[in-house]
Symmetry: D2
Subunit: 266 residues, 4 copies
């Protein structure tokens, strides 16, 4: 009997790209709140997801660095299970309730790609960097302190897709008005049978169930954000027309599964 | 309406990782024929696929370098659409007919990963290199000529998984007894709903339909092949107990779709 | 006694990044001839190298893929000794004779970086891709034939630095008016002693001695070339104001040493 | 006039791989103390550096992650100026005084390569990972706490070169008996002139001058360390015959220059 939650299924089940949930994540985020052109960003929504008229294109760009583990101390295999990522979350509505929709996402390893796809995030490979903070004081340390500056960037296939700067101003005890919506994504796996190429094998709107969410070391200040023009990508269509707060925080959460909101193949 | 054969589905349909079929491939292969332990390799076969008793563990390890295009001159975007790969094909039987089964496969970019998964290849990211041949004569050129030597290697997450050497002896007009079986793979996409983690959303045995197959510049000689012991992988279980011919050839083919042989979720 | 032509010097001499000359190279080039702004490109010339007034900014951008070997079949270690590169060569004058000057160069591995620096090329790491040609006919093959199209790109640290397109029109038996000048470079190794940071330990103008040069499979046609604006680089200052021929060819040559033209520390 | 501390020298001086000192570094280290075979490790010492008879092969393997800045907020360009590294330091003697000698070192970007070479570290490119610690509690967080476990690995050109595990047991206010020796390295830049290939252009024993050294968040416990057998490298000759403490700490320091101890070309 072949074993493994994901491919490759194998005799021992240790070759699989990812272990079964529950999955645990811990990391750092550099984020910039912004507003995209609401008319343009509406075009990135799938059937059933509506623009949030009150939000006027409100979105957040997140640069992440995180460590993953499941049941087998995967965090002790950092070459496989550490990850850098970038994603955009757009305010939107699902059946009258506010949600965050993820139109584009990037990570830098294969385990994270597959994990993302299974969760409905449309991950591509990218190279993501953000300024880190270190405990030993130095001009190189980027302390978590007033006026400290951080930067982040994402490139994919050799093109710069996004750049951000954040200047910290004050520490917060809670995030307010940001990252407080359930994230809705789309699990999508194409068919490859002749005559059925237009009909995906899996096409589900889902809500990932986040548990044990911790957000701490929250600093807020000014943000700057740019999505340069590129070819072969459409992120620049969601470029900022106004930029809001910049944030840096530490996070952790767990994922045991997702809830299917709608089967779009029906 | 969102467009695109694959994720991310987008307003213009140009952000998708891969365009719709037909897909065209052209490249080079360094291959080593070998025999794995038939009792061990039988454990890598899924339900319904049987060992080929006559083959006694016969297999081939293929190191590939190829270029991809669909309808839009994707070969002019080499940063996205060139690829290096490695895979193993094992002799096996499906409903009484000889097939080749792919237990493990690796590629080095995201488009190839997703294309592979949609075709049923259990791709992981790897770094693959093979000696190239160049037209201008030099000690560095590795000509296609008697006694010329080639090498290849694949590593993944910083571990060396396989190494091969081939010494060319003679040019062939046709491959005989190798790569003449239809390739059977498994399209597999997990569920992530609570209570259904054991039941994949897609689990199909498929046969990829290869069209316009060209194999040329075929050279055969001696091969050498090793699968070093690694952690987090199971390729070494399929290590050679005997090694056969080494080969180098150029290839091209097209893929328009696959045929579903069995739905394993049933 | 420690052994090795380069660092790290080691007991057996096999850890060194590069073996001693003679070095042999074989590969493929996609090249675009162009004219930079001669007033701007003159600023990239070191002391003693003069603009070539007749050339009016004439330059060539070369995207390369090559294999390296020295005495120990290094081409059978492709993970270490294959390389992709990009460089610009500007027409210039040295003591009244026409030369080609290399202001910027990029490669994608450490052996090539060090080899370049020792030869005087100011290499940085870059990711370089070019369309390849394959023997098996296919829409993906990019044949060496009239009207066939090729593309190339170079990015460094996630920014796209240059892009080229070439459409083949005819095969040539010889390159004329291009790549016919000796290449002059600058071997430069800084001091790190307090009070001597301004005075490099090595600062030599040199001419690399190329032997056994073979250029074959030469195709010429139209070229297109762009150097997008970037930060942290100055390649865009040398951007084309006019573009000439596009070329694709195969090459090989050997290097046994260089000739020192001038010691700039004097 | 061309500007820049290092190559490429350029009109504006912003293309150079590295800015001039002073250089500031801040980061994290996972370290394992060990003993190599003193007879074998003695072979890695250059002329003038002697084995430390009292140390009996005492050494330390360091896995580092750090951020760099000079005068221009380089830490806000993390794609260029963050780095992961690995190095070995061997106890040795220079003119009767205890020193630490660096036989092998690896980093993962070009700025760090060149900075290392200028300082005398024999850097090659490697891919280095270590378990990180994050502020938000989670099974994925690897807290700095008793019994917490960390791992690290380094691979180069697709081969695993070293692996380490550390289990934290107690927090220390100071490191004792480790990393308390001045580091001696060898600045080495080959000649390439015919007839002078055996005589490097630069060959200096130097001591890097570390200023503002901060070591904090020091945890000590058990270590495990392995240097697997590889080809094309000689690190395995320095493999542990006994393993001592495992450590994790944060650090920062600055470098303004180095002191030349001996000119080995003389």
């Amino acid at each position: 009997m072949l074993k493994g939650f994901a491919i490759p299924r194998s005799p021992l089940g240790i070759a699989a790209l990812i272990p079964p949930p529950p999955w645990h994540f811990a990391g750092e985020v550099l984020a910039v709140e912004y507003w995209s052109d609401p008319e343009l960003s509406a075009y990135t929504l799938p059937r059933g997801v509506e623009p949030d008229a009150k939000s006027k294109g409100h979105a957040v760009a997140l640069f992440t660095e995180y460590q993953f583990t499941a049941r087998n101390e995967e965090h002790l295999d950092p070459a496989r299970y550490q990850c850098h990522g970038f994603l955009v979350l757009l305010d939107a509505m699902w059946q009258g309730s506010p949600i965050a929709w993820c139109p584009y996402a990037f990570v830098d390893n294969d385990a994270a790609l597959l994990r993302g796809w299974i969760c409905g995030y449309p991950e591509k490979l990218g190279s993501v960097h953000q300024t880190r903070t270190f405990a030993a004081g130095s001009p190189a340390s980027a302390p978590l302190a007033r006026n400290s500056r951080f930067a982040a960037c994402i490139s994919s296939h050799g093109q710069l897709l996004a750049q951000a700067r954040v200047t910290l101003r004050e520490r917060l005890s809670h995030l307010v008005g940001l990252l407080d919506r359930p994230i809705v994504t789309r699990r999508y796996f194409p068919s490859l049978s002749a005559g059925r190429l237009e009909t995906p094998a899996v096409d589900e709107l889902v809500r990932c169930i986040l548990e044990n969410v911790v957000i701490t070391n929250i600093w807020v200040g000014e943000g700057a954000l740019a999505f340069p023009e590129t070819f072969g990508e459409e992120l620049d269509i969601l470029a900022p027309i106004k930029v809001g707060r910049g944030l840096r925080f530490s996070f952790s959460y767990s994922v045991s599964g997702c809830k299917i909101l709608a089967d779009l193949t029906a």
